[in-house]
Protein backbone atom coordinates (compact mmCIF):
# COMPACT_ATOMS: atom_id res chain seq x y z
CA UNK A 1 0.00 0.00 0.00
CA UNK A 2 1.16 3.57 -0.63
CA UNK A 3 2.22 5.82 2.22
CA UNK A 4 -0.30 8.40 3.35
CA UNK A 5 -0.98 10.83 6.19
CA UNK A 6 -3.72 10.22 8.74
CA UNK A 7 -5.88 12.70 10.60
CA UNK A 8 -9.12 12.60 12.55
CA UNK A 9 -12.05 14.92 11.99
CA UNK A 10 -13.49 16.50 15.14
CA UNK A 11 -16.89 17.34 13.69
CA UNK A 12 -18.61 17.59 10.30
CA UNK A 13 -17.42 21.16 9.72
CA UNK A 14 -13.86 20.11 10.53
CA UNK A 15 -14.14 17.18 8.11
CA UNK A 16 -15.29 19.53 5.34
CA UNK A 17 -12.45 21.96 6.15
CA UNK A 18 -9.84 19.20 6.11
CA UNK A 19 -10.98 17.70 2.81
CA UNK A 20 -11.03 21.16 1.19
CA UNK A 21 -7.44 21.73 2.30
CA UNK A 22 -6.10 18.69 0.43
CA UNK A 23 -7.63 17.77 -2.95
CA UNK A 24 -5.99 14.32 -2.82
CA UNK A 25 -7.33 13.47 0.64
CA UNK A 26 -10.16 11.00 1.20
CA UNK A 27 -12.56 10.32 4.04
CA UNK A 28 -12.40 6.93 5.71
CA UNK A 29 -15.29 5.44 7.70
CA UNK A 30 -15.58 1.63 7.60
CA UNK A 31 -12.85 1.40 4.98
CA UNK A 32 -14.07 -1.93 3.60
CA UNK A 33 -13.89 -0.76 -0.01
CA UNK A 34 -11.34 2.07 0.25
CA UNK A 35 -8.62 0.08 2.06
CA UNK A 36 -9.02 -2.75 -0.44
CA UNK A 37 -8.71 -0.33 -3.37
CA UNK A 38 -5.63 1.20 -1.75
CA UNK A 39 -4.04 -2.24 -1.45
CA UNK A 40 -4.77 -2.71 -5.16
CA UNK A 41 -3.16 0.66 -5.94
CA UNK A 42 -6.43 1.87 -7.49
CA UNK A 43 -7.03 4.56 -4.88
CA UNK A 44 -3.93 6.60 -3.94
CA UNK A 45 -4.99 9.25 -1.38
CA UNK A 46 -2.35 11.54 0.09
CA UNK A 47 -4.19 11.62 3.40
CA UNK A 48 -7.02 9.78 5.09
CA UNK A 49 -9.40 11.86 7.16
CA UNK A 50 -10.98 9.53 9.72
CA UNK A 51 -14.65 10.41 10.11
CA UNK A 52 -15.55 7.21 11.96
CA UNK A 53 -15.82 8.99 15.33
CA UNK A 54 -18.27 11.68 14.18
CA UNK A 55 -21.70 11.63 15.85
CA UNK A 56 -23.61 10.35 12.80
CA UNK A 57 -24.53 6.96 14.22
CA UNK A 58 -28.19 7.29 15.14
CA UNK A 59 -31.45 6.24 13.47
CA UNK A 60 -34.09 8.85 14.24
CA UNK A 61 -37.76 9.25 13.39
CA UNK A 62 -38.53 12.33 11.33
CA UNK A 63 -41.51 14.63 11.89
CA UNK A 64 -43.31 13.36 8.81
CA UNK A 65 -43.11 9.73 9.95
CA UNK A 66 -39.97 8.74 8.08
CA UNK A 67 -36.53 7.79 9.34
CA UNK A 68 -33.22 9.59 9.24
CA UNK A 69 -30.26 7.22 9.21
CA UNK A 70 -26.91 8.70 10.20
CA UNK A 71 -24.17 8.22 7.61
CA UNK A 72 -22.04 6.23 10.05
CA UNK A 73 -24.72 3.72 11.08
CA UNK A 74 -23.09 0.36 10.29
CA UNK A 75 -24.87 -1.76 7.69
CA UNK A 76 -25.57 -4.52 10.24
CA UNK A 77 -27.11 -2.07 12.73
CA UNK A 78 -29.29 -0.64 9.97
CA UNK A 79 -30.49 -4.09 8.89
CA UNK A 80 -31.33 -5.14 12.46
CA UNK A 81 -32.83 -1.83 13.63
CA UNK A 82 -36.38 -2.53 14.89
CA UNK A 83 -37.94 0.45 13.09
CA UNK A 84 -36.25 -0.50 9.82
CA UNK A 85 -37.48 -4.07 10.22
CA UNK A 86 -41.04 -2.98 10.94
CA UNK A 87 -41.44 -0.17 8.43
CA UNK A 88 -38.83 -0.81 5.72
CA UNK A 89 -38.26 -4.58 5.69
CA UNK A 90 -37.23 -4.45 2.01
CA UNK A 91 -34.28 -2.26 3.00
CA UNK A 92 -33.29 -4.63 5.82
CA UNK A 93 -33.49 -7.57 3.44
CA UNK A 94 -31.39 -5.83 0.79
CA UNK A 95 -28.68 -4.91 3.30
CA UNK A 96 -28.53 -8.50 4.57
CA UNK A 97 -28.23 -9.75 0.98
CA UNK A 98 -24.91 -7.94 0.61
CA UNK A 99 -21.39 -8.77 1.82
CA UNK A 100 -20.73 -10.79 4.99
CA UNK A 101 -21.59 -10.09 8.60
CA UNK A 102 -17.98 -9.00 9.27
CA UNK A 103 -18.11 -6.46 6.43
CA UNK A 104 -21.61 -5.27 7.36
CA UNK A 105 -20.34 -4.64 10.91
CA UNK A 106 -17.63 -2.37 9.50
CA UNK A 107 -19.30 -0.75 6.48
CA UNK A 108 -21.19 2.51 7.01
CA UNK A 109 -24.43 3.69 5.43
CA UNK A 110 -22.69 6.60 3.68
CA UNK A 111 -19.83 4.41 2.54
CA UNK A 112 -22.22 1.89 1.04
CA UNK A 113 -23.57 4.67 -1.20
CA UNK A 114 -20.03 5.59 -2.24
CA UNK A 115 -18.57 2.14 -2.86
CA UNK A 116 -17.03 1.71 -6.27
CA UNK A 117 -17.67 -0.78 -9.03
CA UNK A 118 -16.26 -4.31 -8.90
CA UNK A 119 -15.62 -4.34 -12.66
CA UNK A 120 -12.51 -6.52 -13.04
CA UNK A 121 -10.73 -3.92 -15.14
CA UNK A 122 -11.28 -1.11 -12.64
CA UNK A 123 -9.26 -3.22 -10.18
CA UNK A 124 -6.63 -4.33 -12.70
CA UNK A 125 -4.16 -1.46 -12.98
CA UNK A 126 -2.37 -3.22 -15.85
CA UNK A 127 -5.36 -2.59 -18.14
CA UNK A 128 -7.02 0.59 -19.46
CA UNK A 129 -10.11 1.79 -17.57
CA UNK A 130 -11.85 5.12 -18.08
CA UNK A 131 -13.21 5.11 -14.55
CA UNK A 132 -9.78 4.63 -12.98
CA UNK A 133 -7.75 6.51 -15.60
CA UNK A 134 -10.00 8.83 -17.65
CA UNK A 135 -9.32 8.69 -21.38
CA UNK A 136 -7.42 5.40 -21.27
CA UNK A 137 -10.28 3.33 -22.72
CA UNK A 138 -12.71 0.65 -21.53
CA UNK A 139 -11.32 -2.87 -21.31
CA UNK A 140 -14.68 -4.42 -20.40
CA UNK A 141 -16.14 -3.55 -23.80
CA UNK A 142 -14.74 -6.38 -25.87
CA UNK A 143 -13.26 -7.99 -22.74
CA UNK A 144 -14.66 -10.29 -20.07
CA UNK A 145 -17.95 -8.51 -19.45
CA UNK A 146 -20.24 -11.16 -17.96
CA UNK A 147 -20.77 -9.09 -14.79
CA UNK A 148 -21.18 -5.75 -16.55
CA UNK A 149 -24.11 -3.48 -17.31
CA UNK A 150 -26.93 -3.89 -19.82
CA UNK A 151 -28.68 -0.55 -19.23
CA UNK A 152 -27.52 3.06 -19.34
CA UNK A 153 -24.06 2.15 -20.62
CA UNK A 154 -21.81 4.38 -22.71
CA UNK A 155 -18.90 3.82 -25.07
CA UNK A 156 -16.68 4.89 -22.17
CA UNK A 157 -17.89 2.51 -19.43
CA UNK A 158 -20.15 -0.48 -18.82
CA UNK A 159 -19.50 -0.84 -15.07
CA UNK A 160 -22.28 -1.58 -12.59
CA UNK A 161 -22.91 -0.14 -9.14
CA UNK A 162 -22.35 -3.02 -6.71
CA UNK A 163 -24.64 -2.06 -3.80
CA UNK A 164 -27.72 -4.00 -2.72
CA UNK A 165 -28.73 -1.40 -0.14
CA UNK A 166 -28.90 1.30 -2.80
CA UNK A 167 -31.35 -0.69 -4.93
CA UNK A 168 -33.82 -0.71 -2.03
CA UNK A 169 -33.13 2.97 -1.27
CA UNK A 170 -33.87 3.84 -4.92
CA UNK A 171 -37.19 1.99 -4.80
CA UNK A 172 -38.06 3.68 -1.50
CA UNK A 173 -37.24 7.16 -2.89
CA UNK A 174 -34.76 7.97 -0.15
CA UNK A 175 -32.96 11.30 0.12
CA UNK A 176 -29.23 11.75 0.70
CA UNK A 177 -28.28 14.59 3.05
CA UNK A 178 -24.83 16.04 2.46
CA UNK A 179 -22.78 18.85 3.98
CA UNK A 180 -20.22 21.00 2.19
CA UNK A 181 -18.41 24.31 2.40
CA UNK A 182 -21.60 26.21 1.56
CA UNK A 183 -23.87 24.33 3.95
CA UNK A 184 -26.16 21.33 3.73
CA UNK A 185 -28.35 20.09 0.89
CA UNK A 186 -30.53 17.05 0.16
CA UNK A 187 -30.20 15.00 -3.03
CA UNK A 188 -33.05 12.81 -4.31
CA UNK A 189 -31.82 9.24 -4.55
CA UNK A 190 -32.46 9.05 -8.28
CA UNK A 191 -30.13 12.05 -8.70
CA UNK A 192 -27.39 10.81 -6.39
CA UNK A 193 -25.68 8.22 -8.61
CA UNK A 194 -24.80 9.01 -12.22
CA UNK A 195 -24.78 7.15 -15.49
CA UNK A 196 -21.25 6.85 -16.91
CA UNK A 197 -21.66 9.00 -20.03
CA UNK A 198 -18.25 10.39 -20.93
CA UNK A 199 -17.26 10.98 -17.28
CA UNK A 200 -17.31 7.48 -15.75
CA UNK A 201 -14.72 8.57 -13.18
CA UNK A 202 -17.61 10.32 -11.39
CA UNK A 203 -19.90 7.80 -9.71
CA UNK A 204 -22.14 10.33 -7.98
CA UNK A 205 -23.26 13.94 -7.97
CA UNK A 206 -21.61 14.53 -4.61
CA UNK A 207 -19.36 17.55 -5.11
CA UNK A 208 -15.71 17.58 -4.10
CA UNK A 209 -15.45 18.64 -0.43
CA UNK A 210 -18.95 17.38 0.38
CA UNK A 211 -19.64 14.67 2.94
CA UNK A 212 -22.68 12.41 3.26
CA UNK A 213 -24.24 12.97 6.67
CA UNK A 214 -27.53 11.02 6.52
CA UNK A 215 -29.98 9.06 4.43
CA UNK A 216 -33.65 9.94 4.91
CA UNK A 217 -36.48 7.51 4.25
CA UNK A 218 -39.94 8.88 3.46
CA UNK A 219 -42.88 7.58 5.53
CA UNK A 220 -44.04 5.07 2.92
CA UNK A 221 -42.10 1.83 3.53
CA UNK A 222 -44.26 -0.89 1.85
CA UNK A 223 -43.99 -3.22 4.88
CA UNK A 224 -46.58 -5.76 3.69
CA UNK A 225 -45.87 -6.41 0.03
CA UNK A 226 -42.21 -6.32 -0.88
CA UNK A 227 -39.24 -8.47 -1.80
CA UNK A 228 -35.52 -8.16 -2.48
CA UNK A 229 -34.60 -10.90 -4.92
CA UNK A 230 -30.89 -11.28 -5.60
CA UNK A 231 -29.50 -13.61 -8.27
CA UNK A 232 -25.78 -14.39 -8.04
CA UNK A 233 -23.19 -17.03 -8.84
CA UNK A 234 -22.90 -18.26 -5.24
CA UNK A 235 -25.65 -18.74 -2.65
CA UNK A 236 -24.13 -16.08 -0.43
CA UNK A 237 -21.38 -13.47 -0.28
CA UNK A 238 -21.33 -12.60 -3.98
CA UNK A 239 -22.32 -9.51 -5.93
CA UNK A 240 -25.60 -9.54 -7.82
CA UNK A 241 -25.76 -10.57 -11.45
CA UNK A 242 -29.27 -9.17 -11.26
CA UNK A 243 -31.27 -8.06 -8.24
CA UNK A 244 -34.79 -6.69 -7.92
CA UNK A 245 -36.33 -4.53 -5.23
CA UNK A 246 -40.10 -4.74 -5.66
CA UNK A 247 -42.66 -3.03 -3.42
CA UNK A 248 -46.41 -2.86 -3.84
CA UNK A 249 -49.25 -1.11 -2.11
CA UNK A 250 -52.43 -3.13 -2.61
CA UNK A 251 -56.08 -2.13 -2.29
CA UNK A 252 -57.88 -5.42 -2.08
CA UNK A 253 -56.48 -7.38 -5.01
CA UNK A 254 -55.56 -4.30 -7.02
CA UNK A 255 -52.19 -2.63 -7.21
CA UNK A 256 -52.47 0.95 -5.94
CA UNK A 257 -48.79 1.80 -6.11
CA UNK A 258 -45.70 -0.04 -7.32
CA UNK A 259 -41.98 0.49 -6.96
CA UNK A 260 -39.39 -1.42 -8.91
CA UNK A 261 -35.61 -1.07 -9.03
CA UNK A 262 -32.91 -3.29 -10.51
CA UNK A 263 -29.38 -3.88 -9.26
CA UNK A 264 -26.39 -5.40 -11.04
CA UNK A 265 -27.49 -4.07 -14.44
CA UNK A 266 -26.37 -0.44 -14.59
CA UNK A 267 -24.04 2.25 -13.26
CA UNK A 268 -26.79 3.12 -10.76
CA UNK A 269 -29.88 1.40 -9.37
CA UNK A 270 -32.20 1.20 -12.40
CA UNK A 271 -35.67 2.57 -11.95
CA UNK A 272 -38.28 3.60 -14.50
CA UNK A 273 -41.45 5.27 -13.28
CA UNK A 274 -43.22 4.37 -16.54
CA UNK A 275 -42.91 0.67 -15.67
CA UNK A 276 -44.29 1.39 -12.20
CA UNK A 277 -47.16 3.49 -13.54
CA UNK A 278 -48.16 0.63 -15.84
CA UNK A 279 -48.69 -1.63 -12.83
CA UNK A 280 -51.09 0.75 -11.11
CA UNK A 281 -54.70 -0.43 -11.24
CA UNK A 282 -53.74 -3.92 -12.35
CA UNK A 283 -54.79 -7.10 -10.57
CA UNK A 284 -52.14 -8.25 -8.11
CA UNK A 285 -51.98 -11.70 -9.70
CA UNK A 286 -51.69 -10.55 -13.31
CA UNK A 287 -48.51 -12.28 -14.48
CA UNK A 288 -48.91 -10.85 -17.98
CA UNK A 289 -48.98 -7.37 -16.46
CA UNK A 290 -45.81 -8.14 -14.50
CA UNK A 291 -44.12 -9.26 -17.73
CA UNK A 292 -45.20 -6.04 -19.43
CA UNK A 293 -43.67 -4.01 -16.62
CA UNK A 294 -40.45 -6.00 -16.96
CA UNK A 295 -40.38 -5.43 -20.72
CA UNK A 296 -40.88 -1.71 -20.19
CA UNK A 297 -38.14 -1.54 -17.58
CA UNK A 298 -35.76 -3.41 -19.89
CA UNK A 299 -36.83 -1.86 -23.20
CA UNK A 300 -33.44 -0.20 -23.77
CA UNK A 301 -31.37 -3.13 -22.49
CA UNK A 302 -28.35 -4.03 -24.58
CA UNK A 303 -26.16 -7.08 -24.05
CA UNK A 304 -22.42 -7.29 -24.59
CA UNK A 305 -20.48 -10.36 -25.55
CA UNK A 306 -20.87 -12.27 -22.27
CA UNK A 307 -23.79 -10.66 -20.45
CA UNK A 308 -26.74 -10.86 -22.83
CA UNK A 309 -28.15 -13.54 -20.52
CA UNK A 310 -28.82 -10.78 -17.98
CA UNK A 311 -31.63 -9.33 -20.08
CA UNK A 312 -33.77 -12.45 -19.89
CA UNK A 313 -32.62 -13.13 -16.31
CA UNK A 314 -33.71 -9.64 -15.27
CA UNK A 315 -37.07 -10.00 -17.05
CA UNK A 316 -37.82 -13.27 -15.25
CA UNK A 317 -36.51 -11.93 -11.92
CA UNK A 318 -38.84 -8.92 -12.15
CA UNK A 319 -41.87 -11.15 -12.75
CA UNK A 320 -40.86 -13.43 -9.89
CA UNK A 321 -40.17 -10.51 -7.56
CA UNK A 322 -43.53 -8.87 -8.31
CA UNK A 323 -45.20 -12.23 -7.65
CA UNK A 324 -43.39 -12.57 -4.31
CA UNK A 325 -44.32 -9.01 -3.36
CA UNK A 326 -47.96 -9.39 -4.37
CA UNK A 327 -48.28 -12.62 -2.40
CA UNK A 328 -46.60 -11.14 0.66
CA UNK A 329 -43.92 -13.85 0.53
CA UNK A 330 -40.62 -11.95 0.36
CA UNK A 331 -37.44 -13.76 -0.64
CA UNK A 332 -35.66 -15.19 2.41
CA UNK A 333 -32.00 -14.20 2.62
CA UNK A 334 -31.23 -17.44 4.51
CA UNK A 335 -33.23 -20.11 2.71
CA UNK A 336 -32.13 -19.33 -0.83
CA UNK A 337 -34.82 -21.31 -2.63
CA UNK A 338 -36.63 -18.94 -4.98
CA UNK A 339 -40.33 -19.59 -4.74
Amino acid sequence: MINFEYARANDVADAVRQIAADPKAKFIAGGTNLVDLMKEDVERPSRLIDISRLPLKTVEETEDGGLRIGALVPNSDLAYHPLVGQRYPMLASAVLAGASQQLRNMASTGGNLLQRTRCFYFYDTATPCNKRDPGSGCSAIGGINRINAILGTSDACIATHPSDMCVALAALEAKVHVAGPSGERAIAFAEFHRLPGDTPQRDTNLNPNEIVIAVELPPKGFPSNYTYLKIRDRLSYAFALVSVAAALELEGDTIKEARLALGGVAHKPWRDTAAEAGLRGQAANNQAGFAQAADLLLRDARGYEHNTFKIDLARRAVVRALTQAAQGTPQSQSDKKIR
Binding site: M1, I2, N3, F4, E5, Y6, I28, G31, T32, V35, D36, M38, K39, L48, D50, S52, S76, Y80, A99, S100, Q101, Q102, L103, N105, M106, L235, S236, Y237, S332, Q333, S334, D335, K336
Partner: protein, 157 residues
Amino acid sequence: MAPNKISIELVVNGTARQLTVAPWTSLLDALREHLDLTGTKKGCDHGQCGACTVLVDGRRVNSCLTLAVTKDGAKVTTVEGLAANGTLHPVQQAFIDHDAFQCGYCTSGQICSAVALIAEGKAKSPDEIRELMSGNICRCGAYPNILAAIQQAMGQS
Protein backbone atom coordinates in the same frame (compact mmCIF):
# COMPACT_ATOMS: atom_id res chain seq x y z
CA MET B 1 7.36 11.34 2.08
CA ALA B 2 7.49 9.46 5.35
CA PRO B 3 4.43 10.32 7.43
CA ASN B 4 4.82 10.11 11.16
CA LYS B 5 4.03 6.93 12.98
CA ILE B 6 1.18 7.19 15.42
CA SER B 7 0.97 5.93 18.99
CA ILE B 8 -2.21 4.09 19.83
CA GLU B 9 -3.56 1.90 22.59
CA LEU B 10 -5.45 -1.31 22.02
CA VAL B 11 -6.89 -3.45 24.79
CA VAL B 12 -6.03 -6.85 23.38
CA ASN B 13 -7.50 -9.90 25.10
CA GLY B 14 -7.98 -7.84 28.25
CA THR B 15 -4.52 -6.28 28.39
CA ALA B 16 -3.81 -2.66 27.43
CA ARG B 17 -1.06 -2.56 24.81
CA GLN B 18 0.67 0.59 23.56
CA LEU B 19 2.02 0.46 20.06
CA THR B 20 3.37 2.83 17.45
CA VAL B 21 2.22 2.11 13.93
CA ALA B 22 2.31 3.64 10.48
CA PRO B 23 -1.10 4.87 9.25
CA TRP B 24 -1.27 2.05 6.69
CA THR B 25 -0.69 -0.76 9.21
CA SER B 26 -3.70 -3.04 9.23
CA LEU B 27 -5.07 -4.27 12.53
CA LEU B 28 -4.09 -7.74 11.30
CA ASP B 29 -0.45 -6.75 10.83
CA ALA B 30 -0.46 -4.87 14.13
CA LEU B 31 -1.60 -8.03 15.94
CA ARG B 32 0.75 -10.39 14.12
CA GLU B 33 3.86 -8.30 13.58
CA HIS B 34 3.79 -5.83 16.48
CA LEU B 35 2.17 -7.92 19.23
CA ASP B 36 3.29 -11.40 18.11
CA LEU B 37 -0.28 -12.68 18.20
CA THR B 38 -0.06 -14.95 15.18
CA GLY B 39 -3.24 -16.90 15.83
CA THR B 40 -5.10 -14.47 13.59
CA LYS B 41 -4.31 -15.48 10.02
CA LYS B 42 -3.67 -13.56 6.82
CA GLY B 43 -5.49 -15.33 4.02
CA CYS B 44 -6.52 -13.13 1.11
CA ASP B 45 -5.75 -9.77 2.81
CA HIS B 46 -8.75 -8.32 0.89
CA GLY B 47 -11.75 -9.08 3.11
CA GLN B 48 -12.89 -12.02 1.03
CA CYS B 49 -11.89 -15.06 3.10
CA GLY B 50 -12.49 -14.25 6.78
CA ALA B 51 -9.28 -15.88 8.09
CA CYS B 52 -8.39 -12.57 9.78
CA THR B 53 -11.68 -12.28 11.70
CA VAL B 54 -11.31 -10.81 15.19
CA LEU B 55 -13.73 -9.09 17.57
CA VAL B 56 -13.44 -5.31 17.94
CA ASP B 57 -15.55 -4.00 20.82
CA GLY B 58 -17.38 -7.31 20.66
CA ARG B 59 -18.21 -7.20 16.95
CA ARG B 60 -16.61 -9.45 14.35
CA VAL B 61 -14.66 -7.61 11.66
CA ASN B 62 -12.06 -8.35 8.99
CA SER B 63 -8.82 -7.16 10.61
CA CYS B 64 -7.08 -7.06 7.20
CA LEU B 65 -9.33 -4.19 6.05
CA THR B 66 -9.15 -2.36 9.38
CA LEU B 67 -6.46 0.28 9.78
CA ALA B 68 -5.05 -0.05 13.30
CA VAL B 69 -4.94 3.73 13.83
CA THR B 70 -8.72 3.94 13.38
CA LYS B 71 -9.23 1.59 16.35
CA ASP B 72 -7.21 3.54 18.92
CA GLY B 73 -8.76 2.76 22.32
CA ALA B 74 -10.75 -0.25 21.16
CA LYS B 75 -11.04 -3.66 22.81
CA VAL B 76 -9.80 -6.43 20.54
CA THR B 77 -10.38 -10.13 21.10
CA THR B 78 -8.37 -12.65 19.09
CA VAL B 79 -8.46 -16.43 19.12
CA GLU B 80 -5.72 -16.32 21.79
CA GLY B 81 -8.12 -14.54 24.14
CA LEU B 82 -11.03 -16.99 24.03
CA ALA B 83 -9.86 -19.70 26.43
CA ALA B 84 -10.25 -18.90 30.12
CA ASN B 85 -8.12 -20.34 32.93
CA GLY B 86 -6.80 -23.14 30.78
CA THR B 87 -10.24 -24.21 29.58
CA LEU B 88 -11.08 -23.93 25.91
CA HIS B 89 -13.98 -21.71 24.86
CA PRO B 90 -17.04 -23.87 24.10
CA VAL B 91 -16.69 -23.01 20.41
CA GLN B 92 -13.05 -24.12 20.40
CA GLN B 93 -13.97 -27.39 22.15
CA ALA B 94 -16.84 -27.94 19.72
CA PHE B 95 -14.51 -27.54 16.73
CA ILE B 96 -12.33 -30.31 18.18
CA ASP B 97 -15.31 -32.52 19.04
CA HIS B 98 -16.66 -32.26 15.49
CA ASP B 99 -13.33 -32.33 13.63
CA ALA B 100 -14.35 -28.98 12.11
CA PHE B 101 -11.12 -28.38 10.19
CA GLN B 102 -8.51 -30.04 8.05
CA CYS B 103 -5.57 -27.74 7.38
CA GLY B 104 -6.62 -25.35 10.14
CA TYR B 105 -5.68 -22.12 8.41
CA CYS B 106 -9.20 -20.66 8.41
CA THR B 107 -10.01 -22.05 11.85
CA SER B 108 -9.15 -19.13 14.13
CA GLY B 109 -11.24 -16.86 11.90
CA GLN B 110 -14.07 -19.40 11.83
CA ILE B 111 -13.99 -19.68 15.64
CA CYS B 112 -13.95 -15.91 16.25
CA SER B 113 -16.75 -15.49 13.73
CA ALA B 114 -18.80 -18.25 15.36
CA VAL B 115 -18.32 -16.77 18.85
CA ALA B 116 -19.73 -13.47 17.54
CA LEU B 117 -22.52 -15.20 15.63
CA ILE B 118 -23.72 -16.86 18.84
CA ALA B 119 -23.53 -13.54 20.72
CA GLU B 120 -25.48 -11.76 17.96
CA GLY B 121 -28.34 -14.23 18.40
CA LYS B 122 -29.69 -13.83 14.88
CA ALA B 123 -28.95 -17.31 13.55
CA LYS B 124 -31.13 -20.21 14.72
CA SER B 125 -31.60 -22.64 11.84
CA PRO B 126 -28.81 -24.37 9.88
CA ASP B 127 -29.62 -22.15 6.87
CA GLU B 128 -29.26 -19.05 9.02
CA ILE B 129 -25.96 -20.24 10.50
CA ARG B 130 -24.59 -20.99 7.03
CA GLU B 131 -25.69 -17.59 5.74
CA LEU B 132 -24.20 -15.64 8.66
CA MET B 133 -20.96 -17.65 8.47
CA SER B 134 -20.59 -17.05 4.72
CA GLY B 135 -17.83 -14.50 5.29
CA ASN B 136 -15.54 -17.34 6.41
CA ILE B 137 -14.28 -19.52 3.60
CA CYS B 138 -12.91 -23.03 4.26
CA ARG B 139 -11.07 -24.33 1.22
CA CYS B 140 -10.78 -27.79 2.75
CA GLY B 141 -14.59 -27.86 2.73
CA ALA B 142 -15.16 -28.67 6.40
CA TYR B 143 -18.46 -26.78 6.32
CA PRO B 144 -20.76 -29.60 7.56
CA ASN B 145 -18.49 -30.13 10.56
CA ILE B 146 -18.20 -26.39 11.23
CA LEU B 147 -22.00 -26.17 11.19
CA ALA B 148 -22.26 -29.11 13.62
CA ALA B 149 -19.67 -27.53 15.93
CA ILE B 150 -21.53 -24.21 16.00
CA GLN B 151 -24.83 -25.96 16.69
CA GLN B 152 -23.23 -27.80 19.62
CA ALA B 153 -21.76 -24.59 21.04
CA MET B 154 -25.06 -22.76 20.58
CA GLY B 155 -26.84 -25.44 22.58
CA GLN B 156 -24.46 -24.80 25.47
CA SER B 157 -24.74 -21.01 25.50
